[in-house]
């Protein structure tokens, strides 16, 4: 993936192989579909087609998160082997930058107003320049929190009034002090902004020198000092296959990471979290010690095998060397690589290492990439195996159907009376089977429905747990995280319980070739959090008077005749000149919490209904399969065939069996070598 093929070890190969395996599985599926024809072998083809569709369109999303200035852009450049993201600037955008492989350079910028801008087939420098323009802070605004101002415009749809309240709000959220002194800058900046020039999504396609085109790297907007991210980023984090949190190696301790993990990302996302400590070249002597320290500090958050220390500049030097440049050329071209070249060249000589190899080794990427790659492909590989197993089961059932048919045809040829008796005997068998199925379904209902069912106790537990968690949330971000956690827990609960039902059926109905896996199309109704937030927001805007102080003159209102009005303070009045809308954050959180509580209750209720429907699904499916088998027998009974016809059909069935057996062999061999 991100390393040269030469440096692949056995583990790394998996990624390159995945693409080949995937293609072969798709071919196996196409063969299967042709061989199956209209035969019902118990495999739900639609569901299988769906799996294949997902396989074809699968994307591996790697989210790169971290504080602004943590070195995200350099890290990404070093991964994609191309210095295309601007690195010497402050990232000024709340927009995500999605980076993917494309044969021709492509840049699409979507703005908050819906306007889009597309650059196609442009030179790298043009794209880089455009990115720099869109995604970095202009020099004159480096000392004001431009991201916060943009966020305000995105949220409220209009530019803010730069008054004391707003400045205070900016100071509080950004941690930047004395913004009053740069009020004119704030005003200028605000005047230059509108939804038309605030980017929300940047898509960058480029012919990067990597062979895996299914990866989508997402450069997340920098998390704020307390680790927060806005909704769009949160949504992306949720669907990421891996999240790389970038943090400078020193100081190792990071408040933003701790908060990012504890209150921002969901528990499910935590399973995909990597910590990448950057700038390791600066502290090269201490690198191992700092890495160990990080592993110790974050042991409760991230498993130690997912914590790495890297240096992106060293990896970029390695990439330059790979492109055929000499160290002297690299030194001349880039000042910021210069000092590292001098130091590490010496070190490599001392340690007797070859130049290129040394820079890769010192960069730390050699350790990170294989682990990341392995992590990313393990789930897709098991999906491939799952598909193959379904097909295998289908083939086995097909063979038994063909063998059964051959047997019947042979009987028909030998003795027609015996053939009819055989069909009757089989019909009786099917009837027995159906009775047995009903019995199993009844048993299943007594286990999986009612107050003593396992799901009831678990649902109650989850409900009570999350009521408490929601009500104790202090921040909007926490609430968002907890809500997604609750949804994920419910999803997991349903998945586990459906698995149990499947196990129950599988055990009892193995002989029938029971084919139902976990495809019941049960989905937890998603809650439109944004809509709820919008409603709450409307409810909690309160109007506050705008008060101005006015001093009456001595001549006004006969003040000179009133001795107590001779003091200025006595003539100072506060008058209301208008009203303004104030957003009550505390009330907002409270109302949002209430609404979430109600929605959660609804979701749990719907989930229960859907779960119970799964049992009916089984009932319908089993009934359908048996009925079809019976109909097929009836058809055979009615049809009078000549001996030539029977011989031909037997021959065809045997041919099919031979073809299927060949496919089965292929699949079994495949399953053996799948990692």
């Amino acid at each position: 993936m991100f390393l040269e093929a030469k440096s692949f070890n056995k583990e790394v190969k998996k990624f390159a192989e995945y693409k080949i395996y995937k293609q072969q599985v798709i071919e196996i599926f196409e063969n299967y579909k042709n061989l199956k024809g209209a035969l019902n072998d118990g495999v739900d083809v639609k569901s299988l087609e769906n799996k294949i569709y997902n396989l074809k369109n699968n994307q591996f999303i790697i989210a790169v998160a971290g504080e602004v200035k943590a070195g995200k852009s350099t890290f990404i450049n070093s991964l994609i082997k191309e210095e295309i993201l601007p690195t010497d600037v402050l990232q000024a955008t709340n927009a995500l930058i999605e980076i993917f492989y494309s044969k021709k350079p492509y840049l699409k910028i979507s703005y908050a107003s819906g306007k889009t801008e597309i650059l196609e087939d442009e030179a790298r420098e043009v794209i880089k320049e455009k990115l720099k323009k869109v995604a970095s802070i202009p020099e004159e605004y480096r000392d004001i929190p431009v991201n916060l101002i943009d966020l305000y415009i995105l949220e409220y749809g209009h530019i803010p009034i730069i008054d004391e309240d707003f400045i205070k709000y900016l100071e509080e959220r950004s941690g930047i002090e004395n913004l009053k002194e740069v009020r004119y800058k704030l005003e200028n900046y605000v005047m230059s902004r509108s939804k038309d020039n605030i980017p929300v999504r940047i898509e960058l396609g480029y012919p990067f020198p990597w062979e895996f085109d299914e990866i989508r790297l997402v450069d997340m907007p920098g998390v704020n000092a307390i680790g927060g991210v806005h909704d769009l980023s949160f949504a992306f984090l949720e669907k990421s296959n891996a999240i790389l949190f970038i943090h400078p190696i020193k100081p190792v301790e990071s408040e933003s990471l701790k908060r990012f993990v504890s209150s921002v990302i969901t528990d499910k996302s935590k399973e995909a979290l990597f910590l990448v400590l950057t700038h390791s070249a600066i502290f090269f002597e201490e690198k191992e010690r700092l890495l160990e320290e990080a592993k110790r500090i974050y042991s409760s958050i991230i498993p130690s095998h997912r914590i790495f220390a890297v240096d992106s500049i060293l990896k970029l030097i390695y990439e330059d060397l790979n492109k055929g440049k000499t160290l002297d050329e690299i030194k001349r071209e880039s000042r910021h690589k210069r000092k590292w070249i001098i130091y590490f060249k010496d070190l490599a000589e001392e340690e007797g290492l070859e130049e290129k190899k040394a820079f890769l080794q010192y960069s730390g990427f050699e350790e990170l990439i294989p682990v990341l790659e392995n992590f990313l492909v393990s789930a897709p590989f098991s999906e491939l195996a799952k598909i193959l197993e379904i097909i295998l089961d289908g083939y086995k059932e097909q063979i038994s159907i063909y063998q059964e048919t051959i047997k019947l045809l042979q009987t028909q040829k030998k003795d027609r009376e015996e053939f009819l008796r055989e069909i009757d005997r089989m019909q009786k068998g099917l009837k027995k089977l159906e009775t047995y199925c009903y019995l199993i379904l009844e048993e299943a209902a007594t286990v999986f429905m009612g107050v003593h069912s396992p799901i009831e106790a678990q649902l109650n537990e989850i409900k009570m747990k999350y009521y408490d968690v929601f009500l104790n949330a202090k921040e909007l971000e926490e609430l968002r995280k907890y809500y997604r956690d609750a949804e994920n827990s419910l999803n997991q609960l349903v998945k586990e319980n459906l698995k149990q039902i499947s196990e129950f059926f599988r055990k009892k109905l193995e002989q029938v070739g029971e084919q139902f896996k976990e495809e019941y199309n049960i989905s937890i109704p998603k809650i439109d959090l944004a809509a709820i937030e919008e409603t709450c927001r409307r409810e909690v805007i309160k109007r506050e008077p705008i008060i101005e102080e006015k001093v009456e003159s001595l001549l006004e209102n006969w003040n000179f005749l009133k001795p107590w009005k001779w003091f200025k303070s006595e003539r100072t009045k506060k008058i209301i000149v208008g009203t303004k809308e104030i957003f009550d954050k505390e009330a907002f959180l409270k109302i949002l919490c209430n609404n979430l509580l109600e929605s959660f209750i609804e979701v749990v209720e719907k989930l229960r209904d859907e779960f119970y429907r799964a049992l009916n699904f089984y009932k319908a499916k089993i009934g359908y399969i048996l009925e079809e088998k019976r109909d097929r027998l009836e058809d055979l009974k009615k049809e009078l065939k000549s001996n030539e016809r029977i011989d031909y059909e037997i021959l065809m069935a045997e041919k099919k069996i031979a073809l299927i057996e060949k496919e089965i062999k292929k699949i079994e061999g495949f399953l053996k070598i799948l990692p």
């Binding site: 009903y438 019995l439 107050v451």
Partner: protein, 239 residues
Amino acid sequence: MIKSDILKKIEKKLEEDISKEIELIKREVFFILDKELDIYFLKEFAKYYPRKLLKEKAEILLDTLLNYFMKEILEDVKRLHPDIQYEFFKENLRDKIRNWALSENGRFYPLLPDIKEKESMLEKTLTIAPGVALSAGGLIATAAIPETLPLKAIPAVSTLIGPIYIIKRIKDKNKRLKNMWKRQINAYLKYSKKELKNWLFQVEDRFLNELDNLYKKLDTIKPINEFNKNRRNINYVKI
């Protein structure tokens, strides 16, 4: 048919289940009510949520009752001739009863609890009465007691504490409202428990009736006679 002693056992188990589920509803509702939430939200919650939960639990209890019955019957049915077993299952007794019990005519439809939005005049009076009495008593005593300061101090303190007590009680209004709602929900659940029980017993009657009819119907099917003749010769369904 289900024997009467078994039926009694089922009813007993069901009653225990009902009590347990009602307790769970109470626990859940009170858990939220005890939280420092917006009082308007809590009022709405107290008004609508117990009924929602009751309806939900009623359905789960219905399945539980059907589970108890079917478990008993299945033991008998397993001993029948396969053809009769087939006919029995084709009748789909569980679904038939379930559909009826959830239909417009048979469903359990609890009313909304009567949740008062404000305290009544009497309740308000009772709340502040001790404070008023204390103050009034204090005033009278202060006036009546002779001019010795130490002695006057006692009723004077009472006079002061009275209003403080009243203000505090008025400030505790939300807490009192919540307690009032809890009492009302308690009463509502107590009443609903009986209603729920009655409804489930109606379902029971319906089930037993249907079962009786079903057995009669099955009796007319030929193999059952053979089965009756060879009762000891059990033909299990074996696949």
